[in-house]
């Protein structure tokens, strides 16, 4: 950004807008985290107040860690998210490369077909998916979730990545061909590193809905063995009594892993978002 184009009032204005937005966006998260450190009375007495020595209480966290198999749920969520993410990125990038690089009959039709999933929610097919999983004996396995999430993430990944792959220089790929690189080497060694920022963008967009999903774990894998964090937290939501301490603590803990993954991708992501503007 050059200083010549930005005046002081405009800078202040822009920052005011951005700060307001940040406050609004972070508000619920802060409330959740703050209240997770308070006693039940503290939560209901003054929900907006930060924990004081009087209301400070770790009861939520001890309940979560003591009760149920929360560490295990975390593991399940992490396995499902990371594995789905891996397959979405791998298959999405490969399909995008094929669509953008090779001319074949029905190329654009195939691209349209692959992108169709963006507009049709995969939940519409829940019944069919459940039948499929029952017949193939995958109910109550993490594999079922990974398969469904991979299918769910692919359309957007193919759509975004093929746009970016079209921008990778043809000359570079051709130079690789003349040097005798295989199409796989060209894809993995030349093209993928160049589209890394867009891969990070896709990774973030794919990861968050998977981590947060309650629907498919509830339907496809509700067993104790395969529960994910979001499903596990339901344990504390009773029809008559709800253990708010535990829920808030579980939610606060659930934020951590996505936050860590996000930080890993964010450096790339920022480069991805601004790459069009700078070059």
């Amino acid at each position: 950004m050059s200083t010549a184009t930005s005046s002081l009032p405009r800078t202040i204005g822009a920052h005011a807008v951005l700060l307001t937005y940040t406050v609004i966006a972070l508000f619920p998260v802060i409330i959740v985290i703050m209240n997770s450190f308070k006693s039940r009375a503290g939560i209901f007495g003054a929900p907006l107040a930060p924990p004081t020595p009087k209301t400070f209480d770790l009861i939520g966290y001890t309940t979560v860690i003591g009760q149920g198999d929360f560490i295990h749920y975390f593991q399940n969520s992490l396995v499902v998210t990371v594995a789905s993410l891996f397959f979405v990125l791998l298959f999405g990038a490969m399909a995008a490369f094929a669509l953008s690089e090779y001319r074949f009959r029905g190329n654009s039709l195939m691209g349209l077909y692959l992108a169709l999933g963006i507009m049709i929610p995969i939940r519409l097919a829940t019944v069919a998916i459940l039948q499929l999983m029952v017949t193939s004996g995958l109910v109550n396995t993490l594999t079922a979730l990974i398969l469904v999430y991979t299918a769910q993430g692919l359309p957007l990944a193919v759509f975004i990545l093929s746009e970016f792959m079209k921008q990778v220089s043809d000359d570079l790929k051709n130079a690789g061909r003349i040097d005798g690189l295989s199409e796989y080497t060209i894809f993995f060694r030349l093209v993928l590193p160049l589209v890394r920022p867009s891969m990070a963008t896709v990774a973030v967009f794919t990861m968050i809905p998977i981590w947060n999903d309650l629907w498919f774990p509830l339907i496809l894998a509700p067993s104790e063995e395969t529960k994910t964090v979001t499903l596990g937290a339901q344990l504390f939501l009773g029809q008559f009594v709800t253990n708010w301490n535990a829920i808030l603590a579980a939610l606060s803990l659930a934020i951590m892993p996505v936050l860590i993954l996000y930080v890993i991708f964010s450096r790339q992501l920022i480069r991805g978002i601004t790459s069009g503007a700078v070059k």
């Binding site: 220089s169 000359d171 570079l172 051709n174 130079a175 690789g176 061909r177 003349i178 040097d179 005798g180 690189l181 060694r189 030349l190 590193p193 160049l194």
Partner: protein, 332 residues
């Protein structure tokens, strides 16, 4: 070693025919330049020779062997691209060595060849750098080096100098000319630039709309163009074309190059007014609006002072006037 034959090569993208039957023979050690207007199929032809694009029909024969079904890496060619196309994650040394490594060449041999190529192109100080740490000119030299180490039968250049600034272009042009002399390799070179074509080529191939208009040495094309297109394309400023009927000639069009016209203030064949004068130091370009011939360009060697609006007479050199028929072909 290093001959090339192209036999009736056609290429269509869907319904669009881009190459319409190209026949070309290149002998060993020749420097051949493809020129033609933008979109005429120069790059496509080069890519067909390289094997990056399949031809729709026809044969490409390198060194006596039909390579139409051979992948690019096995054709014994090397290519230099307009955009350099260096591998961004590899050092200069590895950029140059990758092709050989893929082909299973022993490491000692790779090092030897990189040593020779980098000293030839003065790249030794940069061998450990990545492409991002090089200037445009250095990058293009690395790209040329990458081609040289492969010791190909055939070098292919696709507008290698057009991303460089004017001064660097002259230097690199010189380097390519020296390279050709030292390696005695066959080279095929695509360019937009007249000067590059005239100075580098043993043989120029003029392409237009997917067809070859004429093949010949630089002076042959300049002195005896086969048709109106070649006459207009070779030479700068462009040849003047005058409607034959206006001059009372039988030919459809009369062509005369700007440098083959003389001007005089008193008398001459075509009376005209000066519209504009360009002073280049070594020569002067005059634009004259003539009564009989219309707007023409005259190139005068040295300084010539003429004010816009002044009246001048231009006279063509009769020995160097070209006559074209209705089909655009030159009339003998």
């Amino acid at each position: 070693m290093g001959s090339l034959n192209i036999e009736n090569v056609k290429k269509a993208f869907g319904p669009v025919e881009v190459l319409k039957g190209i026949n070309l023979e290149v002998t060993d050690g020749e420097f051949v330049v493809f020129v033609g207007p933008s979109g005429c199929g120069k790059s496509t032809l080069l890519r067909v020779i390289a094997g990056l694009e399949d031809s729709t029909s026809g044969r490409v024969v390198i060194d006596g062997a039909d390579v139409s079904a051979t992948p690019p890496a096995k054709r014994g060619i090397a290519m230099v691209f307009q955009t350099y196309a260096l591998y961004p994650h590899l050092t200069v040394k590895n950029n140059m060595g990758l092709g050989l490594k893929q082909a299973g060449t022993p490491a000692a041999e790779i090092d030897r060849r990189i040593g020779i190529a980098s000293s030839m192109l003065s790249l030794e100080p940069y061998l450990a750098r990545r492409p991002a740490e090089l200037s445009g000119g250095q990058r293009q030299r690395v790209a040329i080096g990458r081609a040289v180490v492969r010791e190909p039968k055939l070098f292919l250049f696709d507008e290698p100098l057009s991303n460089l600034d004017a001064a660097l272009r002259v230097n690199t042009r010189l380097e390519i000319a020296q390279l050709h002399r030292r390696l005695k390799a066959t080279m095929i070179y695509v360019t937009h630039d007249q000067v590059e074509a005239m100075t580098l080529a043993d043989k120029i191939v003029v392409l237009n709309a997917g067809k070859i208009e004429q093949i010949g040495g630089p002076m042959e094309l300049y002195n005896s163009p086969a048709n109106e297109f070649v006459a207009g394309f070779i030479g700068s400023p462009k040849m003047n074309f005058v409607d034959g009927a206006r001059l009372g000639e039988t030919a459809k069009t009369i062509g005369v190059r700007p440098e083959h016209l003389t001007v005089d203030a008193k008398s001459g064949a075509w009376k005209g007014t000066v519209v504009h004068a360009e002073h280049l130091g070594a020569d002067t370009n005059l634009y004259l609006d003539c009564e009989k011939a219309g707007l023409i360009t005259v190139r005068i060697f040295g300084v010539y002072n003429a004010e816009p609006g002044a009246t001048l007479y231009a006279t063509p050199d009769p020995a160097r006037t070209y006559r074209f028929g209705a089909d655009g072909k030159v009339l003998k």
